[in-house]
Amino acid sequence: MSFKLLFKQKWLPIAVAALLMSIFLSFVSPAFLTLTNFESVLVQASVTAIMAVGMTFIIILAGIDISVGAILFFVSSLFAQTLNTTGSVALAFSAAVISGCLLGTVNGLLIVRFKVTPLITTLATYTIYRGMALHLTSAQNIPVPREIGWMGNGSFLSIPVPVWWMLVFTVIGIYLLSQTRFGIYCKAIGCSAQSAKESALPINRVNILAYAIGGLCAAVAALILIARVGGLQSGIGIGLEFTVIAAVILGGTKLSGGSGSVAGSVIGAIFLVLIDNGLNLFNASPYIYDIVRGFVLIVAVLVDRVSVIKNQPNALKFKTSSEGN
């Protein structure tokens, strides 16, 4: 791969940032450069990273889904409740995966059929899914036996299972985005919905599929997370959506759509964990985390903007469209 090609990769800035952060952390704490620590960082990042893969497609389509945290909550509730009442592991897993895809599809259908802004649609479904989840379990915690939690706690060939899943989703995601028609359509539609329409691209189907994938990612992430916390716990997953969106943006995907990087989103998720790691090493007050994360987000968009300005000097003065996002 020539250097020119490397510099064009959208995930390069976040990869560099992650690398610099790692070097910095290894100076500050000797414990950082150990294998167990690497493993722990990757495992911690896995939940966000997998969801970020799905979110990447949605954002490339110039859409957004702020209900993914609630989908995770619902899937966890359904999984634990099914396991509890039927005792069948297979049934519980199937219910989890199917419900995730279903809820994602519902999001897609509502957006496509009623043409309501994705932000508002998923805002509405966020409250609905959350209500459904609470209703299902009457706000109780439901433990999941540790053996069944192999999704989150097991390891295969001495690599933790969550890391495997992260790898699998990353590879499939990269392939989908760059090598399939679906991926190309996503980028085209996100770039210009008008031209896509004129080219008779299957806009509706692509959108629904993207949101369904987002739901599937949330379902897998749910299975990992509840395994690690020991079962369905109050409010699990609620609030995750913003971390996921942040990871995707940090990874180089543009909120206005049209281009993006699955690898970038995954590295973005890892980068966020590294920040937490770093703050923790400094025994930072828990509230500093929010300030730092907000700051990092703004810097990331700034950096991105600077690169755009370098290429289009008029971009600073000229806003050609009103972006709601």
Partner: protein
């Protein structure tokens, strides 16, 4: 004289009829809940059961962690002219206004689970003794650790920093740990969230690999601790020389199972059934305009792996 007797009898009859009518009108109790999560739901269920026994109706409102919503909900309970209000405050400092209005409307207020600093706004308080609960857990931990030499690192997972119960459990725990002069406590807040506890424990062990004990302000976080320790190869059962001492407060199924299988050394169990029963009993007395004591503290009990199974029915979360 005859007329006077008739009058007296008439008066007595009407008084008793009136009394009957007052009693026959169904008693409605407003239940203002801060947020729905496992132990709160169990507490509320105990309250509802106690109310059902007495034929009282419960009107439940949940504030979902928002102080402003809770104030509005309490006002709606006042509008509905409930006979008493049972309240677990979202924020013990911000609820004064709403409860003052209840006082003005002459509706008795019983605070449950969370103490309120302003004595003028409630008639009675029923709840756990969180300082003692934390102390019991710490006391047991001290017993397990006293033979260790050198610095003893202890990880304390705090609850939410604005929750009086969390603050008190920490206070009690740290008080107990003073009996161990070479103990050093690392405190990390978790907002009562298990995913945060997971990350906090992971990070703490990464920065301080020699932690010898972990205290969880809520035992629902114990499975997260277990996940981290298993991942680090440090999850040894009670009795093993390298066992890391784990205790918690609450009484959920997570805590019960963890203690039963010997991962956790023990948990302090809150007596939610009694808190529920007492709240309604106090409400009943106050509605009948009887005098009651202000503070009713219901003590928690500590159970360790040795005796937890035979006390299963005293643990509200066990075996759900």
């Amino acid at each position: 004289m005859k007329a006077f007797k008739k009058l007296v009898i008439l008066a007595l009859l009407s008084a008793s009829l009136l009394g009957q009518w007052v009693m026959a009108k169904e008693i409605r109790i407003g239940l203002a809940v801060d947020q729905l999560f496992e132990s709160r739901v169990a507490e509320n269920n105990a309250i509802k059961a106690a109310a059902k026994k007495r034929g009282f109706q419960i009107i439940e409102v949940v504030a979902d962690g928002d102080a402003q919503t809770q104030n509005a909900q309490i006002q709606s309970l006042i509008s509905q002219r409930v006979d008493a209000i049972l309240v677990c405050a979202v924020d013990q400092n911000t609820i004064n206004g709403a409860l003052m209005r209840a006082q003005r409307a002459r509706i008795p207020v019983i605070a449950y689970d969370r103490k309120l600093p302003n004595e003028r706004v409630y008639q009675a308080y029923v709840g756990p003794d969180s300082v003692q609960d934390g102390f019991l857990a710490g006391q047991h931990m001290v017993k397990q650790l006293k033979d260790h030499s050198g610095e003893i690192l202890v990880l304390e997972l705090l609850g939410a920093l604005n929750d009086q119960n969390g603050i008190d459990r920490s206070k009690g725990f740290q008080q107990a740990l003073q009996a161990l002069p070479n103990a050093k406590i690392i405190s990390v807040p978790t907002d009562w969230d298990s995913a945060k506890a997971l990350a906090a424990t992971q990070n703490a062990f990464q920065a301080n690999p020699s932690i010898k004990a972990v205290f969880a302000a809520t035992d629902t976080q114990i499975p997260s601790i277990e996940t981290v320790l298993i991942g680090l190869g440090k999850a040894h059962p009670v009795g093993h020389p390298k066992h890391i001492v784990v205790t918690g407060v609450n009484g959920s199924n997570d805590g019960y199972q963890a203690t039963k299988k010997g991962f956790a050394d023990g948990i302090v169990v809150m007596n939610l059934d009694q808190i529920g029963e007492k709240s309604i009993a106090l409400a009943e007395k106050l509605i009948k305009k009887q005098k009651v004591e202000k503070n009713h503290v219901v003590a928690g009990y500590f159970y360790h792996s040795g005796n937890i199974v035979k006390n299963k029915d005293k643990i509200w979360g066990a075996g759900q």
